[in-house]
């Protein structure tokens, strides 16, 4: 039975020429799990917000949204608040109260439910989510993943018929994201709640979906069952969205729609039926010799407060000239702290940092120019347009005069595709765009080392892919890059060396190949897919494309 339908829906912001959403039609049945994806700025958020009329953007809209057989304008505000629930992207900003229990019942109280009813509901829900131990905690003590779980639970307590989620896992680390998604699956499968989710990471989500929809520039480009859709888009630009198994299978054969594997398990079954030999790879075995040591940490200890545990413990690390080093590890293992010690923002309590072999801290900027790209690049901008900020960066670089500086700005804006946005306020840019803009500002200071904190957070797969290409090119042109990330796929593709951070130490390191292959959990989806299936093990799709030859049996 149909629960929600869009009929020729169009929308544009006031005083704007173009339509953000253009003539959308879609029908969602009760109990469906719908995944909505597409590049940033394609209108996913706008669409979800139009369905949730309380938070709808202002502007001109055409067409209709039908909920439960009536136009949403005909429903009462109470019905809509209760029956259409929404979880937003940022876990932190959605929270109103300061304790978990108060936050959970916030919606119920707003709608005036009786106390005994609320008590029963909360007891039920906290049992289902396993929240008992959290109920009396302060929200500020929780992790991002727990916060997002509380947001979900708080919305679900209203017993919505349709649950809308706007990139709910974009700000979470992979482990928290997985447990959030598995909770969604339970909601959908055990309670039959209709879910409409905008999402970038499809590896875990696509297999759950009944209906997948690609939105690009405000129109539905493709829609259908995940398998059907995968078959359609496998050779288009949207390919980077597909789960590893699907992308691999579709690259090497044109499977029937029914046969398209979605999960690792299905992918392995598919692989076992194939015969693949590795091409005699003429790998660019130039086995670069390590360059000079630019930065070196020697037995460094760091803790934020005396009584707390040590964030870094006896950590030693060398950064060689010309390499791209990725430091991977879970949340809270001290990755960001390590990067900040390398940048010289914080001084370790024990041990020391050597810059090009010297320990002097005073003239460090003259010895080695370091650029640091923070996790939240928004805070980087002080000026009110992107271009002004860049001019400032040029002004602070003594090696560039005003005129060449201008040329540099133009060059970078052109090659990073940001030309149209040069006069915009930094806060009007999307996550990927603002990151690029901040990166340009850093490059304008002609650094020798670039330190990047969590570069892929919140990026859509296409933006991520272009970031990878960009960093690779910068690295090839001689820039040394150190990044910390929990995105293994990213680390495997971009780096020349990987190191694993665990409990304040670097426990393992090596080339991506040596580092990841053989790991059971801590490796890329492509590696988990190909190991122990009798085919040559690969880390990335790119590697498979280069080294595999499929024999048609």
């Amino acid at each position: 039975m149909e629960i929600l339908a869009l009929q020729n829906l169009s929308f544009r912001y006031p005083d704007e020429e173009h339509w953000v959403l253009n003539n959308l039609s879609l029908s969602v049945s009760e109990g469906d799990f719908v995944v909505l994806f597409g590049p940033s700025g394609s209108g996913k958020s706008t669409l979800l917000r139009l369905i949730k009329s309380e938070v709808a953007p202002h502007g001109e809209s055409k067409g209709q949204i039908i909920f439960n057989h009536r136009s949403i304008a005909e429903h009462t505000a109470e019905t809509l608040a209760k029956e259409i629930g929404m979880v937003f992207q940022d876990p932190e900003n959605q929270i109103v109260m300061d304790r978990v229990l108060e936050e959970l019942v916030f919606g119920l109280e707003n709608l005036g439910f009786r106390t005994d009813y609320m008590r029963k509901k909360v007891a039920e829900m906290s049992h289902f989510f396993g929240l008992d131990s959290l109920l009396n905690r302060r929200i500020s003590e929780l992790s991002g993943g727990q916060k997002q779980m509380i947001n979900l639970a708080s919305v679900l307590l209203l017993e919505p018929k349709v649950l809308l989620l706007d990139e709910p896992t974009a700000q979470l680390d992979p482990v928290a994201a997985k447990s959030f998604i598995s909770m969604l699956r339970r909601m959908n499968e055990e309670l039959g709640i209709t879910v409409i989710m905008a999402e970038h990471r499809l590896e875990d989500v696509l297999p759950l979906a009944d209906l997948a929809v690609i939105l690009d520039k405000g129109t539905i480009v493709h829609s259908g069952s995940p398998r059907q859709l995968s078959a359609e888009i496998a050779h288009e630009k949207y390919q980077s969205y597909l789960p590893a198994a699907t992308a691999l299978a579709m690259t090497f054969s044109h499977e029937q729609e029914k046969m398209v594997p979605l999960t690792i398990k299905e992918g392995q079954q598919w692989l076992r039926e194939q015969t693949i030999i590795s091409k005699s790879l003429k790998k660019p075995e130039k086995k670069k010799k390590n360059g000079a040591v630019l930065l070196e940490l020697k037995r460094v200890d760091f803790q934020y407060e005396r009584d707390n545990h040590k964030v870094l413990e006896q950590l030693s690390l060398k950064v060689y000239e010309g390499e791209c080093l990725s430091i991977v590890g879970g949340n809270g293992t001290g990755k960001s702290t390590l990067l900040r010690v390398l940048a010289g923002f914080i001084k370790p309590q024990r041990g020391h940092l050597k810059i090009k072999g010297t320990r002097s801290n005073k003239k460090r900027n003259e010895i080695l120019k370091v650029g640091y790209l923070p996790q939240n690049p928004r805070l980087f901008f002080l000026e009110d347009t992107v271009e002004k900020e860049m001019e400032k960066a040029v002004a602070s670089n003594k090696r560039l005069d005003h005129k060449t500086g201008k040329q540099h700005i133009d060059y970078y804006l052109e090659s990073f595709h940001l030309k149209a946005l040069r006069d915009h306020h930094p806060y009007d840019l999307s996550g990927g765009e603002i990151q690029k803009a901040a990166l340009i500002c850093l490059l304008l200071k002609s650094p020798e080392v670039l330190l990047i904190d969590e570069p892929t957070k919140g990026l859509d797969p296409m933006a991520k892919q272009s970031l990878i290409e960009r960093l690779k090119r910068l690295n090839q042109s001689g820039l040394t890059i150190v990044n910390v990330t929990h995105d293994i796929e990213f680390a495997a593709q971009v780096s020349s060396r990987c190191a694993l951070m665990f409990q304040g130490e670097l426990t393992a390191e090596g080339t991506p190949d040596a580092f990841f292959k053989g790991n059971t959990f801590y490796t890329t989806a492509m590696d988990r897919l190909t190991r122990q299936t009798g085919v040559p093990e690969v880390l990335t799709l790119e590697e498979a494309k280069q080294t595999w030859r499929m024999q048609n049996s």
């Binding site: 938070v55 505000a77 932190e92 300061d98 708080s154 002080l382």
Partner: protein, 295 residues
């Protein structure tokens, strides 16, 4: 703390804190203020094991020292000359005045610390959401911003430091300019995120109808009794202030800081008022001990 002071009706608790604020502002006697500080510190230790004190002690100490040092340097009125500091007379009156101002402010802050523990967001909404829904919402958001601002400023400082922009180095003019720029990003950023919070509230039906309560607060007999006690002690304390007994006279003649006669009575009354929550928690503690003793 399901029992104890926080188990009383929010209205009673709220009125208590209003009264407490008034009393520490009116009571300008160093002996009284010092005792109050001690009572409040003990209460904070019981409430959150001194968590708030540990977090803020640096700021509190700076505040006291600031007033203690600054008042004698600025204020030169009085008759008891202590010594000369760079040709400026330092008066005993001014030192005492500085002490009183500092302690009074410290008391205010400590009362707020305890207020934050007892009047949680949901109690605040309970008290004001019906009477002034929009204002209650706004106050909630604003209060949420205070700790957030602190955390965010630290983060902005970190990021900007990487660009070489800092409030800690450079000429004074440059530092002030940078500081203002930081505050500007802080506001832009926070406003944007505030919109998200407001969205999430609207999405869950805030303001559609009269809010109900998950924790039902019934005004019980014990709340009434406590309220009577609060009003009684409050009125007496105010009377003490009006009679000049809770105030140390400095101008025109410095009064002896030692308590005497009727002053003792009001000192005890005022301190008892400030100690009400402590007494209630103390009773719980004794009961618990006694209960353990029985088994």
């Amino acid at each position: 703390m399901k029992r104890g002071f926080s188990s009383f009706h929010p209205l009673t608790c709220f009125l208590y804190y209003v009264g407490a604020l008034v009393i520490v502002m009116l009571g300008q006697h160093p002996a009284f203020l010092l005792s109050t500080v001690l009572v409040l510190i003990v209460f904070n230790i019981i409430q959150e094991k001194g968590g708030g004190l540990i977090r803020w002690w640096g700021a509190y100490a700076t505040l006291i020292i600031f007033f203690l040092v600054l008042t004698p340097l600025i204020n030169h009125r009085g008759t008891h000359l202590l010594f000369y500091f760079r040709d400026n007379p330092v008066m005993l009156e001014a030192v005492i005045q500085g002490m009183i101002t500092g302690l009074s402010l410290l008391c205010l802050l400590l009362v707020f610390l305890s207020y934050n523990q007892i009047i949680t967001a949901d109690k605040f909404l309970f008290l004001f959401a019906r009477v002034l829904p929009q204002w209650a919402l706004l106050t909630m958001l604003a209060m949420r911003f205070v700790p957030l601002f602190r955390r965010r400023l630290v983060e902005i400082d970190r990021v900007q430091q990487s660009k070489g922009v800092s409030v800690k180095t450079g000429s004074l003019k440059q530092r002030i300019k940078n500081g203002l720029l930081f505050v500007q990003i802080l506001l832009t950023w926070s406003l944007e995120e505030g919109i998200q919070t407001a969205d999430s509230m609207k999405a869950r039906g805030y303001g559609l109808k009269k809010r109900s309560r998950y924790t039902p607060y019934h005004f019980q007999l014990k709340d009434g009794l406590l309220l009577v006690i609060i009003i009684l002690f409050f009125s007496l304390s105010v009377a003490g202030w009006a009679l000049g007994d809770l105030v140390l006279e400095i101008q025109p003649m410095l009064e002896s800081p030692l308590l005497s006669g009727r002053e003792w009575f009001f000192y005890v009354v005022g301190l008892l008022y400030m100690g009400i929550p402590l007494c209630i928690e103390g009773r719980e503690w004794v009961l618990w001990r006694f209960w353990r003793y029985k088994i």
